[in-house]
Every structure is written in structure tokens, then in C-alpha cells.
Amino acid sequence: MTSLVSARGVSKHFGDVRAVDNVDFDIEKGKILGLIGPNGAGKTTLLKAVLGLTDCEGDLSVLGLDPFRQRKKLMQNICFIADVAVLPRWIKVSQLLDYVQAIHPNFSRSRAEELLKQTKVKPGAKVKELSKGMVTQLHLSIIMAIDAKLLVLDEPTIGLDILFRKEFYANLLSDYFDEERTILITTHQVEEIENLLTDIMFINDGKILLDSPMDALGNSYVELMTSGEEAIKARGLRPIAETEMFGKSVMLFDGITRDHLEGLGEIRVPSVADLFVAKIKEARR
């Protein structure tokens, strides 16, 4: 399988702070990769490097291009929505479509108009007259009308209410995603996207803590709810995290098979959020 994005020894530092610290990873075609990390973990910096918005050290190749030096060519095949990439407030919806149509070789205006018809966004309206949710719908309609190989979403639904957020991801899956497309997404609200991800990557302090397909998580990580004698036995198997819940211990194991834990309590696949918290705590220890 071909890698769409390939990073080897990629670093970026601001003064003494290493925002991204010598990371290696690949993103393959047809995947939806979730990049999860706490604030200041280096997510946005890494995305910026992938998008060619910032220079970095190491070897980074996106669609076979050097993102920083070949940004224009890259942007013909990449789309992105960042939480801070706000649409200009003075522009009219129709002007925005005119602009993207003239600038972007892979943009289908009729597709964008079709998508906008499903929303309350009117072509004559100015962006400043739209609500935040409508601006995001407008932005997403434009992005989804671009035939791009890689879509990067950086906290795309921040500040939106739950209805818009659900709709956003539903539209993304039903109207956009297919095996030719690849999506890279970051968010704080892991629970909202965990069902749509094919792959997941955790990042903290500029380092990658986990890089795995979603369906492999159940094999590598096991959550055990236990108490009493069993809990002591289980603790001997060195869980990477332990929390108390309803008087029981919830332990998370890395690389311990289910067979080993059989009979020690209730076994489950951990949620991404729990796994994330455990991994971050482990890294900070």
C-alpha cells in the first residue's frame, strides 16, 4: 500500500521548546486517522508541517511532495479546515464560490451549490451575517466539493452545538469519504469521532505515544474491572493504569492477552478516551 504521508525524524522547535520531537509515521490511502493529544502536545504544529504552513526538520513527504516548498501544488490535492481558519467576514457566499472556482482546479461549483441547498446558507449572504454553525457548513460544502486526496480537519467542530457536530461528521462520512480519500482529523472530543476512525495516533509533548489501526486496539489493550483478591493478582500483571469506579478497580493492560486475565474480572475493550488518559499518564510518569 502506498503512503500518502510519510514522516521520518520530523522535528520542529520554537526556541528550546520541541513542539514536534523526532516523529516517524505513515498515513495510508483510504484511512481516517484521528490525531489525539492534549493542548500544546504538538498536534497543530504537526498538521501545519503536513500542510506546508511551517517548515520542519527531517523528511516529510505528503503526496510525494515537500509540503513547505511545494505548497501550491500540494494545495491542489489537499483541503483543510482549521479551527482558526476562519472564512473572511466581508465576502459574499457567491463571491467565495467564484473565487474557489477560479483558483482551484479540482473544485466542482455545482457540487458545492448542491450541498449548500441542503443548508440555510443563501448565495447572496455575507459571511458576517451567518451564524458560526452556518459558516462551518459553508466551509464544509466548499471543501467537500473539492476532489482532494487528503482532507485535514483541525478541531473542525469547535464552538458548534451538538446537532451541528453530529451532522458535520455524518455528512463527512456519507457525502465525502470513499476509498480514494484520506482524512486526518484532530479533536478534543474523542468520543464523537472514535466510531468513524480507522486509525488512531496519540501525541504528547511532541512525541507519538500510540499509532495503531482501531481494530487492533482490542488485541493490544484490555480493560479489566475487578476487586478484592483478583485485583491484587491482576495488579501483579502490571497494568498501565488503574482507576477506582463504584468501589471496583478498573485496570488497563498493554500487551497482556485476554487469556491471562480470564477469571480475574470483567474484560472489555477500553474506550479511546480511557486509553488516551492512561497513555498520557504513563508517559508523564
Binding site: 497543530t44 501545519k48 504552513l53 473572511p88 473565487y99 477560479a102 483558483i103
Partner: protein, 305 residues
């Protein structure tokens, strides 16, 4: 390909409506001024009759041309002044507003290089804004001539002879085009500076652009007792090497007590050779190029987060 660049310039016209609102406002002011003057002139009916009679019978073509040209030049200068102020504000806003309203990441998500973006703003300031002003100048002249000739006819004068037969329209217009574009090129180092400040500053672009232009001459005056920088900066506008200078003696033929007809031409006062061969013109263009390049690099390398 051409559509790509046209879209970049169109976007500037959408965002900065002042590019056409300002010339339209000046055109309205000039026209209203003409109307007011004509109405006011109606108070002096007798003197007016004498003046129109004199203009028709005593003055020659050359004098009439001279008077109309003077009016034209007056209104064109007003446009040039408005254009200069407009360009300063446009350039200072052009790379600052997109960072302030955070739309820069949207613009940069499009397949457009930073160089193309910055150059589209330079082209807008250097070519498009003057072009809009020239269209406004031509329209103002035509509207004002129509108004004035209607008025002259009402007063019993021969508008065909007094206005349309005498007006050196194309001489005036070509001169306006030449002066405006040469002036834009001549002042382009300032444009480069404003673009650079607009790309660089975190706040108050107007202040950041003018503070050095005011402080450096003061520092130079205090410590070096010289004024080279002040002269180069604040004196530049007046030093444009474009005019050959008017020969007053040749302009007014004292023997005949008449204006020399061949001399009533604005174009004849313009010396392109002098402008193009002036070292100062080329230094200006180079400075503009360097500062524009700096603006491109700032937009490309600065991390906005």
C-alpha cells in the same frame, strides 16, 4: 491561468470597496462643485454675458484651451491626491486584515503561493487602483463638460465653439494617464514599505509605517545634523523627474499678446525619456522589489499560531 490571477485581483476589489468608492466620491464632489459654481455664477448675469461674449469673440482657441485645461488639471490633481491616500490605506490593510480576522489560513488553504498573493496586492495598488481613478477622471471630465456646455447654451453661448471645439480632451487624458502611472512607479518604494509593514506588524499598521519615517529624520537631524533621509523620503514626491518644465516666455507670445497655441498641451510638458533614464526611478523600483520580497517572506515564514 489568466483566470487564476484575475480572481486574485477581483478578490481585492471585493474586499476593498474603497478602491472604487473613493474615486466615485471625488467625482461626485467635483461635479457638485461645478454645479454650485455655475449656479453661483448665475448671480452675476451681466458680467457673465460679457465674459461669454469675450470668450467667443476676443479670446482665441489657445486661450480657451488653456482655461479648460486648467480646470481639468485641477480636478485630476484632486484624484491623484485621493488615489495616494487610498493606496496608503489599501496597502497597509492588504496583508494585515487577513491576519487580524484570521482568514489567512483559509486563503493559504487554496493553491495560491504567497508570492502570487503579495504580488496581486502590489499589482492592485500599482495598476488597478490608478486605472479605476483614470476611468473616474475621464467620466468626471465628460459629465462636467456636458453640464457646463448645457449651461453655456442656456446663457446664449455657443457650447460647440466654447467647450467642445476647444477642449483638448485626449491631450489631457493621456497626460493624466502618464502622470498617474509614472507617479505610482515613482512612489513605489513607499508601496513596498507599506506592504512589508502590513505583512509584518502585529498591530497599528499606520503608526508602525509612519513612525520610522518620522523618527529616523529626527534622529539623523539631532546626531548627524543632516537631512538626507528626510529629503529622500518626504521630498521624493515633488522630485519626480517627469516634467520638462514650462517655458513661460514661449507659452505667452508677448508680441501678439496671445497664448502660443502649440504650447497649450500637457503632454508636451511630460518628458518620458527623463523619467525612464533617471537613476532615482530605478532605485525606487529596486527598493520596491526588495520590500515586496521581504513581505512575501514574512507571509511565508511567519507562524500565525
Amino acid at each position: 491561468m489568466i483566470n487564476h490571477y484575475l480572481a486574485l485581483v477581483k478578490r481585492e476589489l471585493w474586499e476593498h470597496r474603497s478602491i472604487w468608492v473613493t474615486p466615485a466620491a471625488i467625482a461626485s464632489i467635483v461635479t457638485l462643485g461645478t454645479l454650485a459654481a455655475l449656479m453661483f455664477a448665475g448671480e452675476f448675469a451681466q458680467e457673465l454675458d460679457v465674459a461669454i461674449f469675450g470668450a467667443q469673440n476676443l479670446a482665441g482657441d489657445a486661450e480657451r484651451r488653456a482655461v479648460l485645461t486648467a480646470f481639468f488639471v485641477g480636478s485630476s490633481w484632486l484624484f491623484l491626491l485621493g488615489l495616494s491616500i487610498l493606496t496608503i490605506f489599501y496597502a497597509l490593510d492588504s496583508l494585515y486584515a487577513e491576519r487580524k480576522d484570521k482568514s489567512i489560513l483559509f486563503w493559504r488553504s487554496m493553491p495560491v503561493t504567497d508570492a502570487e498573493t503579495v504580488i496581486s496586492k502590489l499589482v492592485t495598488a500599482l495598476i488597478v487602483i490608478p486605472a479605476v481613478a483614470i476611468v473616474a477622471i475621464v467620466a468626471t471630465h465628460i459629465v462636467n463638460l456636458i453640464v457646463t456646455s448645457l449651461w453655456v447654451s442656456m446663457k446664449g453661448g455657443d457650447a460647440g465653439l466654447l467647450i467642445w471645439g476647444s477642449v483638448p480632451l485626449f491631450d489631457n487624458w493621456f497626460a493624466a494617464i502618464a502622470v498617474i502611472y509614472c507617479f505610482a512607479i515613482w512612489m513605489s518604494p513607499f508601496l513596498g514599505w507599506f506592504l512589508f509593514v502590513s505583512a509584518y506588524t502585529k498591530r497599528a499598521p499606520l503608526l508602525m509605517a509612519f513612525l520610522p519615517l518620522i523618527l529616523i529624520p529626527m534622529v539623523e537631524g539631532i546626531f548627524m545634523r543632516s537631512a538626507h533621509f528626510a529629503e529622500a523620503v518626504w521630498g521624493r514626491g515633488a522630485k519626480i523627474p517627469l516634467f520638462s518644465g514650462m517655458d513661460i516666455e514661449a507659452f505667452f507670445d508677448e508680441d501678439k499678446m496671445r497664448v502660443n497655441e502649440e504650447m497649450v498641451s500637457l503632454l508636451s510638458t511630460i518628458d518620458f525619456g527623463k523619467f525612464v533614464t533617471s537613476v532615482d526611478t530605478w532605485i525606487g523600483i529596486i527598493v520596491c522589489g526588495l520590500l515586496t520580497t521581504a513581505a512575501i517572506y514574512v507571509r511565508r515564514f511567519r507562524d500565525e499560531s
